[in-house]
């Protein structure tokens, strides 16, 4: 029982990170119908910048805040410079552009921060909490709590604020939205910024556990994307649930079946789910626009 709980804790921790990445993917997908492969790089930047600032003796809250702000700016730049100029909405081209952006950002990180691992000390100490025979790191609690707060915030943003509702309008029908005075390109910029914000926060809060390195973004981003697709690309709730489930499955398979094949789990999962239920858990039936 305690082992099961241990695997669950581990799965919930990584699942929370994937969920935030997945949420970021979904927000951008809804605004612009593009899968942003640079999402993983946003996570990396959040952790890397925080780590560098802390080494320079900047207090933790400022380091995280600065990391988030810088990443948001970079997210906005990606949208302005790489996505906005591409007028014809060919999804294949957009995917390749975001992959290029991701390689570019990772490359710059390698030059600026070096190729070594970086460390961020845990926010409130390393003393493990014992629960029913399993141990939980305080930092894991931070990760899960941050994820929960951010998700609630995003949900409120979409329901209660004008800007959030505007984004939902754009995702449903961007032509109609512009008819009522919403500017789709401004909305897409905000979407990228918001996504970068989520990614940076996830990266910063996870870095004491995962440590951070210039190319950590790729695999984390991919798993986040799997989570988003698993839950149903386009559904925010789906993204969160999908991300957490991916983390849980990964951990349980590692615990009970095989640790070497752990990384394959999200991808086997996604192929399975896409074949049985292509719209994901919460997505609506995919409609083809003629």
């Amino acid at each position: 029982m305690s082992d099961f709980l241990q695997y669950v804790f581990s799965g919930l921790t990584s699942g929370s990170i994937y969920a935030l990445a997945a949420l970021g993917f979904t927000i951008i997908f809804n605004a612009r119908n593009v899968v942003n492969f640079a999402q993983g790089s946003f996570l990396m930047l959040g952790g890397m910048i925080t780590a560098t600032l802390i080494t320079a003796k900047v207090p933790l809250p400022f380091a995280v805040a600065a990391a988030t702000v810088i990443t948001v700016i970079i997210g906005g730049l990606v949208q302005r410079l790489a996505i906005a100029p591409v007028k014809d909405a060919d999804p294949v081209n957009l995917v390749i552009i975001t992959i290029g952006a991701s390689i570019f950002i990772d490359g710059i990180a390698a030059v600026v921060f070096g190729k070594n691992q970086h460390m961020v000390p845990a926010f409130s100490g390393d003393h493990a909490i014992h629960i029913l025979g399993a141990t939980l790191l305080p930092q894991s609690v931070w990760v899960m709590a941050t994820a929960a707060v951010l998700m609630a915030g995003v949900s409120w943003y979409f329901r209660a604020t004008l800007a959030g509702k505007a984004m939902r309008a754009v995702s449903i029908n961007s032509n109609a939205a512009s008819l009522v005075g919403i500017r789709p390109d401004r909305t897409v910029l905000v979407a990228f910024g918001l996504s970068a914000f989520l990614g940076a926060m996830a990266g910063a809060v996870a870095s004491p556990i995962t440590t951070t390195v210039f190319d950590i973004g790729l695999l984390l981003g991919l798993k986040g994307f799997v989570g988003a697709t698993f839950g149903g690309l386009g559904s925010a709730v789906g993204a969160v649930v999908g991300g957490i489930l991916v983390g849980l499955f990964e951990s349980l398979v590692a615990g009970y079946i095989s640790t070497s094949y752990k990384d394959a789990v999200p991808f086997v999962l996604i192929i399975g789910i896409l074949i049985c239920r292509p719209q994901g858990l919460f997505g609506s039936r995919v409609l083809d626009r003629v």
Binding site: P91, I97, A101, L233, S260, D263, F267, V290
Partner: protein, 311 residues
């Protein structure tokens, strides 16, 4: 039915024959051969991405599967390498056919993710099953023997690869102009419109996927015996991205375009090889800039420009 490309093909043939005379040493032959092998692989991917408009970022998985199959057949079962290549190519083509139906029920990004997942799963298997594959450090592959002759040295391989590349170009051009090719290309525009016009889209997509698999498998098996050394990295996500980029940058739908894409993207890491950490930055930049400013790809853009000036 060969269309008006006869002239182009003759020039291509002449180029392939003339090239060895200007290449200064074996290293340059090596680079050219790698371009040729990549060219064969992307001609296949072009059928899926360029003609049929389906995005795949797992093409490298099929290449790697075939490479390892051929290598293992020779190493473990003692098969002659020529036979191993044939079996590996046929086998992976069949597997592509089997995978095609479930995979192609996915649309758009879902298909991209599915193929990406395939690539990563294959890579993980290759890394973990050390007894079969030698694990992450790869395995040595026996050289290619056709009957009594061993194909050794870059010059001999050049002849073989150039020949096969030429055949691949011919078949791709043939397909392009044929009724089947037109049906495939109809899918690219709009699947629903194609269905309305009477095209059986499911079968067409499956055939495209299988064809892509065939070319990838052929390129993979050849790569194994040419390099003499293969690693699970052959199936890596970045490799699939490189192939997709060759297609997009060269020109989706254009046979010559994707071969040019293969040439450029094979030379790029060699040219950037000495720059160390800046390689990633430059590569990412080139990727973005080419796709943003030449969304149709290099060759179609050039062709359109030439046509525009002519008219």
């Amino acid at each position: 039915m060969m269309r008006f490309r006869n002239g182009d093909l003759l020039v291509t043939l002449a180029l392939l024959i003339a090239l060895p005379t200007v290449l200064p040493n074996a290293y340059w032959f090596d680079v050219t051969i790698r371009m040729g092998l990549a060219g064969i692989a992307v001609i296949g991917l072009n059928i899926l991405m360029g003609f049929a408009g389906q995005l795949s970022i797992g093409h490298a998985a099929l290449l790697a599967a075939s490479a390892y199959t051929s290598a293992i057949l020779v190493a473990r079962y003692g098969l002659p390498s020529a036979l191993a290549i044939v079996i590996a190519t046929a086998g992976v083509t069949l597997i592509s056919y089997g995978l095609a139906r479930p995979m192609l029920r996915l649309r758009g990004f879902a298909l991209a993710i599915g193929t990406l997942g395939l690539g990563i799963i294959v890579q993980i298997i290759l890394v973990n099953e050390v007894a079969w594959t030698g694990g992450p450090d790869g395995m040595v592959v026996a050289p290619l023997q056709l009957g009594p002759w061993t194909i050794s040295g870059e010059r001999q391989w050049y002849v073989l690869v150039a020949f096969l590349l030429f055949l691949a170009i011919v078949s791709s051009l043939n397909l392009f102009g044929s009724p089947a090719g037109r049906a495939l290309r109809a899918l690219n525009g709009s699947e629903i419109a194609a269905q309305v016009a009477g095209v059986d889209t499911s079968i067409m997509k499956i055939r495209a996927f299988t064809a892509a698999g065939f070319f990838a498998a052929l390129a993979g098996a050849l790569t194994a015996h040419y390099s003499g050394f293969i690693t699970p990295d052959l199936s890596a996500f970045m490799r699939s991205v490189e192939f997709a980029t060759m297609v997009v940058v060269g020109g989706r739908g254009s046979t010559y375009g994707v071969v040019l894409g293969a040439v450029l993207l094979t030379i790029l890491p060699q040219a950037l090889g000495g720059t160390g950490e800046y390689e990633m930055i430059v590569f990412g930049l080139i990727l973005m800039l080419t796709v943003i400013f030449l969304p149709q790809g290099i060759v179609p853009t050039l062709v359109a420009a030439l046509r525009g000036k002519g008219a």
